[in-house]
């Protein structure tokens, strides 16, 4: 548990250092995520303890959104002026994204299936 958390923190730290040192426009934790995927894919299997810790942490992922979500208070004025534009953009864009992504994968994946 402690070892696994240390691994996650070290990969995040490495990501943060790389993002700053080379002024990369990708958040540090995302670079850490990418590096850990590369390391894990080179291993014969995922270490059991790391798997358990990650599963535990990710099962409470939604809790971690709460403090940032409450941050809407700090920007109530902005939401108040522009809530129609924000809501319109969110609904329209989410609907389009669901349709485009699903349509492309179904179209292209069909060929693979028939061949399988």
């Amino acid at each position: 548990m402690l070892g696994s958390i240390t691994v996650l923190l070290l990969f995040q730290l490495l990501g943060e250092i790389l993002a700053r040192a080379f002024d990369i426009a990708i958040p540090g934790p995302v670079i850490g995520l990418f590096l850990l995927i590369l390391v894990l894919l080179r291993r014969p299997e995922i270490p059991r303890k790391l798997d358990e810790t990650a599963t535990g942490l990710l099962s409470h992922l939604s809790l971690l959104f709460v403090p940032a979500g409450v941050g809407v208070i700090a920007h109530l004025a902005l939401l108040g002026n522009e809530w129609q534009a924000i809501l319109g953009s969110l609904i329209g864009s989410t609907a389009l994204t669901v349709l485009v992504t699903g349509w492309v994968l179904q179209k292209l994946h069909k060929g693979h299936r028939d061949g399988a």
Partner: protein, 244 residues
């Protein structure tokens, strides 16, 4: 001896312990209501917890930054949680032999549609530049979306709110849209929900079908990476065109 309520209140309103406890209790209440409702997407635990804390802060007249001093301990875990997505994503990549091209194409089209359509619609509806920039990464899981918003000059906390709203909108309307468009394959349905509506959409997909859930989980990680790489580049091009 008379209890000194004044002193207790002074301690409680300033201590990080209060904000931290309130965050966990509000989330547990939200999760309880969600489970009891039969997991209705509209009764999302995050949404309920945020509403509860907002009301508490408003009633007690505590400002957000005082609250955040305690809540930051929860907020901090978003970083290691993002790194932890590497575990389910790498497990799925191993099991996906031969479908890379179809997945890469769907990912590319989906990421681009999510960011470009959000920006274009917001521009058409006359949103301010800062709002438009905060909306661009709205389909990505929160820690990644906030990082992107910070990088391109949006408001990370407005982005967090838009991300959560996007998740709920996607979880509610996604299945209807997929039925309407006759997208019936579970891999395509799950992947679409993961790309468009990240974790909340994925939670919905997992409930409906195991294969859809696995593809949705993969989509969260992949879309996070793709969008984090794509938006700063698109932003640079957009700035160049608008002559900024």
């Amino acid at each position: 001896m008379e209890p000194n309520f004044q002193e207790v209140w002074v301690y409680l309103s300033a201590s990080p312990l209060t904000a931290l406890s309130a965050t966990l209790v509000a989330y547990l209440i939200g999760d309880w209501i969600y489970q009891r409702s039969g997991k209705k997407p509209i009764l999302n635990p995050v949404l309920i917890a945020v509403c509860l804390i907002t009301v508490i802060l408003w009633v007690t007249d505590i400002d957000y930054w005082t609250y955040f001093e305690g809540a930051q301990f929860v907020h901090f875990l978003l970083g290691p949680a993002t790194v932890a997505l590497a575990i389910p994503v790498s497990a799925l990549i191993r099991s996906l032999k031969g479908s890379y091209r179809a997945i890469a194409a769907a990912l590319f089209c989906g990421s681009l549609t999510a960011a470009v359509s959000a920006v274009v619609i917001a521009e058409l509806l006359n949103a301010s530049t800062q709002t438009v920039l905060s909306l661009a990464p709205k389909s990505v899981t929160t820690p990644i979306a906030m990082g992107i918003a910070e990088r391109i000059g949006g408001l990370p906390s407005l982005t967090a709110v838009c991300v959560i709203m996007t998740g709920i909108i996607g979880a509610v309307i996604g299945p209807y849209l997929l039925n309407f468009a006759k997208i019936t394959h579970w891999d395509a349905r799950g992947f679409a929900m993961g790309v468009a509506a990240h974790g909340i959409g994925t939670a919905r997909a997992i409930q409906i079908n195991k294969e859809a859930g696995a593809f949705a989980s993969l989509a969260i990680g992949l879309n996070g990476l793709a969008t984090a790489a794509m938006i700063p580049i698109a932003f640079a091009i957009w700035q160049w065109f608008s002559g900024a």
